[in-house]
Amino acid sequence: MTDPVRATPDDRALVRIRGLTTVLNGKTIFDALDLDIPRGKITAIMGPSGTGKTTLLKHITGQMRGDAGEVRVDGQSVPELSRDQLFELRERIGYLFQNSALLTDFDVFENVAFPLRQHTKLPEVLIRNIVLTKLQAVGLRGAAGLMPTELSGGMARRVALARAIVFDPMLILYDEPFVGLDPIALNQVLKLIRTLNETLGITSVLVAHELEAIKQVADHIYLIANGKVVAQGDPKTIANDGSPWTRQFFGGDADGPVPFQYPAGDYAASLGFPRGGA
């Protein structure tokens, strides 16, 4: 009999989500969501703010559990994993937080070295070489001695990226990786994501809003709205997709299937004007 936790890994999809339903505080975040993250590819998750993109990453890493449905990573059913199994899985996943989440007690070098020190008994020389290599990749080898408070937002993000890739994981989840980056850093980070994918075959999931940057790097895009995948495909296909969802989202229109205004009462009445005008 097949163990539901450790089923045979799918050859094509590293992450497989089926019928994921999540309700938070009475609001349906995911409504029977189906989604596959192909192995060795860069997949972008896009969608309006508050649509549950970060929540989706939390489901993939087991930080949250859905009300129904299935989330499998490398064949393992994430909600059914024990804490130890979950930690074993997380050792193979890199996660870039929206706000970098650097450990403020440690300098840049120690932040990047942290996972290595916690999970390996590598000699100090080797740890130093690995950390400096990763910092060189994000252009911050010279900042190894700085404290997180001395870094700009963009630099902190690049340090967090170096920390996320320090173990050469099988899967990296990037939550808003391009926010706060200047054009040079943005270009270098895009190159780095692409290089990691091409040279090490790392599967990447990007949650971002920057369509131009996504077009350069992503192999596949999912557009999520109203708890479902409303459009998907490669960047070229999805940009030319004529559906109202893609037209509104990529065109930046206020009018369309995604409401710009948060539900509210009558505007004129809120301002104290009589209904129907003067």
């Binding site: 930080q63 930690f87 997380r90 050792e91 996660y95 937080f97 706000n99 989440a101 403020t104 942290f114």
Partner: protein, 257 residues
């Protein structure tokens, strides 16, 4: 009617908090063996909560001893018993003032910093980042701070008591002219190591250290990840610790006497 409901809610919430805090203690204790892997972190925390609290403990201990000697001298001189000043200073400090005042100072100095630090770690996703790096925050963050508090409190209490007695000596002998030999001989003849020093100072300070550290770590760990949440949690640490210390002091005194 509504006052009754409100009072019931407060009681229910307080009991729920105590229960949750108890369960949190079990989680910390379960994480202690794993935290031994992070012994360096425990030592670092011991430095922050222990060594960095030394100044306030020493200064306060000195003044408490000085004030106590001054007050006792005035009262005892009415009965011609000033020679007993040293004895009363020592017993008061060993049995009550040492552990209680040290614990109150410890809650204000170290407890608040533990709560604020852990609360900010939550607010800035550092705890979540550790979880994502497959590092158990209970073993890396909570247990080392708890252990450091439990270890530091008795040591700080010893320093407080020493400074208190030194302060008493300074005022009683150097300033008010009590005979030096009488001061020490009465004290050594009356103070009992097991009854006063071990029961009072060691057991009480261990219990207070455990309670204050638990409250501080729990409040930080469970605070809403907002600046307001951290501020409230820090305040709650001081309030809850102070009440717990004084209530526990009564219970322990009743049992240890």
């Amino acid at each position: 009617m509504s006052a009754q409901v409100s009072r019931d809610n407060v009681i229910t919430q307080s009991l729920a908090q105590i229960g949750a805090c108890g369960l949190f203690l079990l989680r910390i204790l379960a994480a202690v063996p794993l935290s031994l892997k992070h012994a360096r972190e425990t030592v670092r925390q011991l430095w922050f909560v222990g060594a960095m609290s030394l100044t306030i403990i020493m200064v306060c201990g000195l003044f408490v001893g000085m004030v106590l000697a001054l007050q006792l001298y005035n009262v005892l001189s009415m009965f011609g018993g000033t020679a007993m000043s040293g004895t009363v200073v020592a017993i008061a400090i060993y049995r009550e003032l040492g552990p209680v005042v040290t614990a109150l100072l410890f809650a204000g100095r170290a407890g608040t910093s533990i709560t604020a630090e852990i609360g900010l770690m939550r607010a800035t996703d550092q705890i979540a980042a550790m979880e994502m790096m497959a590092v158990d925050p209970m073993a890396y963050v909570a247990a080392p701070r708890f252990l450091a508090g439990v270890i530091a409190m008795p040591l700080l209490c010893c320093v407080f008591c020493a400074m208190g007695i030194f302060g008493g000596h300074l005022v009683g002998v150097t300033w008010l002219g009590i005979d030096n030999g009488t001061f020490w001989s009465n004290m050594t003849a009356t103070v009992d190591v097991w009854r006063d020093v071990v029961s009072g100072m060691v057991w009480k300070s261990l219990a207070f250290g455990s309670v204050v550290s638990l409250i501080a770590v729990y409040q930080g760990y469970t605070t809403p990840p907002t600046s307001e949440g951290v501020a409230y949690a820090t305040t709650r640490t001081v309030v809850a610790s102070s009440i717990a210390i004084l209530a526990l002091d009564f219970v322990l005194t009743a049992f240890l006497m």
